[in-house]
């Protein structure tokens, strides 16, 4: 590359964050953003808290790369996604902090369930009813959702939970009492269960 090309390629510095925020404020005012999200630092890494029109639609754990989460939301809901704050995201982040600190037992948030449907949604609704500090087996949850034999399908529903932590799929265990798999890793699952046992 010649010297002139190097000089030409030098990118000027801009106050990008200010410009970006001004743009997104206007986009929100014109209702052009379908999904808003913020990154949230937690004891288990950076989570994404994502809100749609109906409330919190998705929470992703640190194991899920941000680009993949956004690509999935683009396919399933809308590509009009931007990183910006909204009241319900702030509320969710406050409750997540309180939960991780051990001072909150029940989440009280507007939830948008549109990323799950049918039997999978039934399983997750039943999972949401498991109290803080308690657990259930995959087959119990399948039974409460109406199909006691659909243990494998219940496992799939829990593995694809769009709202982990808030819908406590970590409270569902294997029948032999082992924790079983968790999208955030089995260590995170064990840690959440232990924290809840201590404080229940």
């Amino acid at each position: 590359m010649s010297e002139i090309e190097k000089k030409l390629g030098r990118t000027p510095k801009t106050d990008w964050d200010v410009l970006r925020q001004g743009l997104l404020d206007r986009a929100e005012a014109e209702e052009l953003i379908d999904l808003a999200y913020e990154r949230h630092d937690s004891p288990f890494g950076t989570l994404l808290v994502i809100a749609g029109d109906g409330g919190i639609v998705r929470i992703s754990l640190a194991a899920e790369p941000e680009e993949e989460v956004l690509a999935g939301l683009t396919r399933r809901i809308s590509p009009r996604i931007a990183r910006l704050g909204r009241d319900e995201i702030t509320l969710a982040r406050e409750q997540l902090d309180s939960y991780f600190a051990g001072s909150l037992r029940n989440f009280d948030l507007p939830l948008d369930w549109r990323l799950t449907k049918g039997f999978r949604r039934d399983v997750l609704v039943q999972t949401a009813a498991i109290p803080y500090g308690a657990t259930a087996s995959y087959s119990e949850v399948a039974g409460r959702a109406g199909s006691p034999k659909a243990v494998r399908a219940a496992g799939t529903a829990l593995a694809t939970n769009p709202l982990p932590i808030v819908v406590p799929c970590h409270r569902v265990l294997r029948s032999d009492g082992e924790a079983g798999s968790y999208l955030g890793g089995s260590e995170m699952k064990e840690a959440l269960l232990e924290m809840e046992r201590e404080r229940a």
């Binding site: 010649s2 010297e3 002139i4 090309e5 000089k7 030409l8 390629g9 030098r10 990118t11 000027p12 801009t14 990008w16 410009l19 970006r20 001004g22 743009l23 206007r26 986009a27 014109e30 052009l32 953003i33 999200y37 680009e67 956004l70 690509a71 939301l73 683009t74 396919r75 399933r76 809901i77 809308s78 590509p79 009009r80 996604i81 931007a82 990183r83 549109r114 990323l115 449907k117």
Partner: protein
């Protein structure tokens, strides 16, 4: 949720496109309309794109955004020309204040290039577009874009030398 895809145009999440292409589009607008008007024209550009985001089917998101930016800049020129105090801005490209803002004197020379070379060189180096994307944004062929960039660089070398 409907069964059919929500994003027929196949565009990426707006957030990713904003972070990947936004600073380049903005830089180009700084050079094109000057720092005073660049913020507003940039926002107009991105809002216009966002308005059709799930419908647009484009080959290159970046070239598409630059095309919108160019059109918005032309719109803004027309508005500026109706503002008597700012008339002189439309005579020069990029404006004097934009050149002052750009940190290297090489851009003074870019300003003196013939229009097509000037635009091609700016898109290629200020906007970091490929020759193909430059062609797409200028509505000329990739070969013509490459030629304009090449001629522009040749002229710059003649005028200021290349160590």
């Amino acid at each position: 949720m409907t069964a059919k895809t929500q994003n027929p145009g196949g565009l990426p999440p707006f957030e990713l496109a904003l972070e990947e292409h936004g600073p380049l589009v903005y830089s180009w607008l700084i050079a094109r309309v000057g720092p005073d008007r660049a913020d507003d024209v940039f926002q107009e550009t991105m809002l216009s794109a966002l308005g059709v985001w799930e419908k647009a089917a484009v080959e290159s998101v970046r070239a598409w955004l630059f095309t919108i930016a160019r059109n918005k800049a032309v719109d803004d020129d027309r508005r500026a020309s109706r503002r008597p105090l700012l008339q002189e801005e439309t005579d020069s490209w990029p404006s004097a204040e934009a050149v002052e803002w750009l940190e290297d004197p090489v851009w003074d020379e870019v300003r003196g290039l013939p229009e097509k070379q000037r635009i091609a060189v700016t898109l290629r180096y200020r906007g970091d577009l490929s020759h193909r994307e430059v062609g797409s944004a200028m509505k000329i062929s990739e070969a013509a874009a490459r030629r304009n960039v090449h001629e522009g660089l040749k002229t710059l070398r003649e005028r200021i030398g290349d160590e």
